[in-house]
């Protein structure tokens, strides 16, 4: 675990995760993933709480984060998102959906040999901003994209 990570990811650290994991018998030692599963962040009900848990205190808007997502999602159960970071030294890409009951969706660590790009598909309960936070050289940058979720089919 390098220094940058320790600065970036406070909250539920690796050690507490391992304790919890072993205690419930869910994780074997080889499952000690480098990317923390940050329980506090995942259980946060607001964007600011989630970012706090992730150790993101200060975040700078950036036009170098390119979020490709549909303006309107035909179904909120699957909203495709393509993220490319043009920020030099991008290490991690975190995704939040502001209006979801638990906004934090996840973090993608691209620091060990991946390009700063990810495609994922998320559930959205309602129209909301999709928020991307990029961590590069210990700094945090963000961009948002609004996605409208529509009512579909005959049942709605």
């Amino acid at each position: 675990m390098d220094r940058t990570r320790r600065v970036a990811l406070k909250g539920a650290g690796m050690s507490s995760l391992l304790v919890a994991g072993f205690a419930t018998g869910l994780l074997r030692p080889r499952d000690a993933w480098a990317a923390d599963w940050n329980k506090n962040a995942f259980e946060s009900k607001t964007v600011s709480d989630a970012l706090n848990s992730l150790g993101v205190q200060k975040v700078v808007p950036s036009a170098d984060i390119v979020i490709k997502a549909p303006d309107i999602a035909e179904n909120g159960a699957v909203v495709p998102i393509d993220i490319t970071s043009n920020i030099p030294g991008t290490e991690r890409i975190s995704v939040l959906v502001d209006k979801n009951p638990f906004p934090y969706v996840g973090t993608f660590d691209v620091s060990k040999g991946a390009l700063p790009y990810v495609h994922l598909r998320v559930k959205m309960g309602e129209s909301s901003n999709v928020r991307v936070v990029v961590t590069a050289n210990g700094q945090h940058y963000e961009a948002v994209k609004e996605v409208k979720v529509t009512i579909g089919g005959c049942g709605g």
């Binding site: 996840g106 040999g113 598909r121």
Partner: protein, 104 residues
């Protein structure tokens, strides 16, 4: 038992463009079954991709990722014949690993 993943990779120079499909219910813990019982949370938490045994891409995700997850990412420094393996672990400790050999 977990169903296999479908992994596809395309080499563009030394970059492998990877697309992976995972079979998983990704239950949110907020849905109810026909009898009104809450269906417990069941979701993939951690994902790791390794190139020839070395971790190259990792993710920690929540139940908000869509059912039967689809991810794409790009691995640097790849070449034909390299072994790409992907592993997921879910919140019940179930895990699945699948591998492919990169084509030319």
């Amino acid at each position: 038992m977990a169903n296999p993943m479908k992994i596809r990779a395309k080499l563009e120079g030394d970059v492998a463009e990877v697309r992976v499909l995972m079979a998983h219910p990704m239950e949110t813990g907020q849905r109810k079954d026909a009898n009104g019982q809450v269906i417990p949370m069941h979701f993939i938490k951690d994902i790791r991709a390794e190139l020839n045994g070395k971790p190259v891409f990792e993710a920690a995700i929540s139940q908000a990722v869509s059912r039967n997850p689809v991810f794409a990412f790009k691995i640097k420094g790849a070449k034909a014949g390299d072994k790409l393996s992907i592993t997921w672990v879910d919140n019940r400790g179930d895990t699945r690993t699948d591998s492919i050999e990169l084509g030319s």
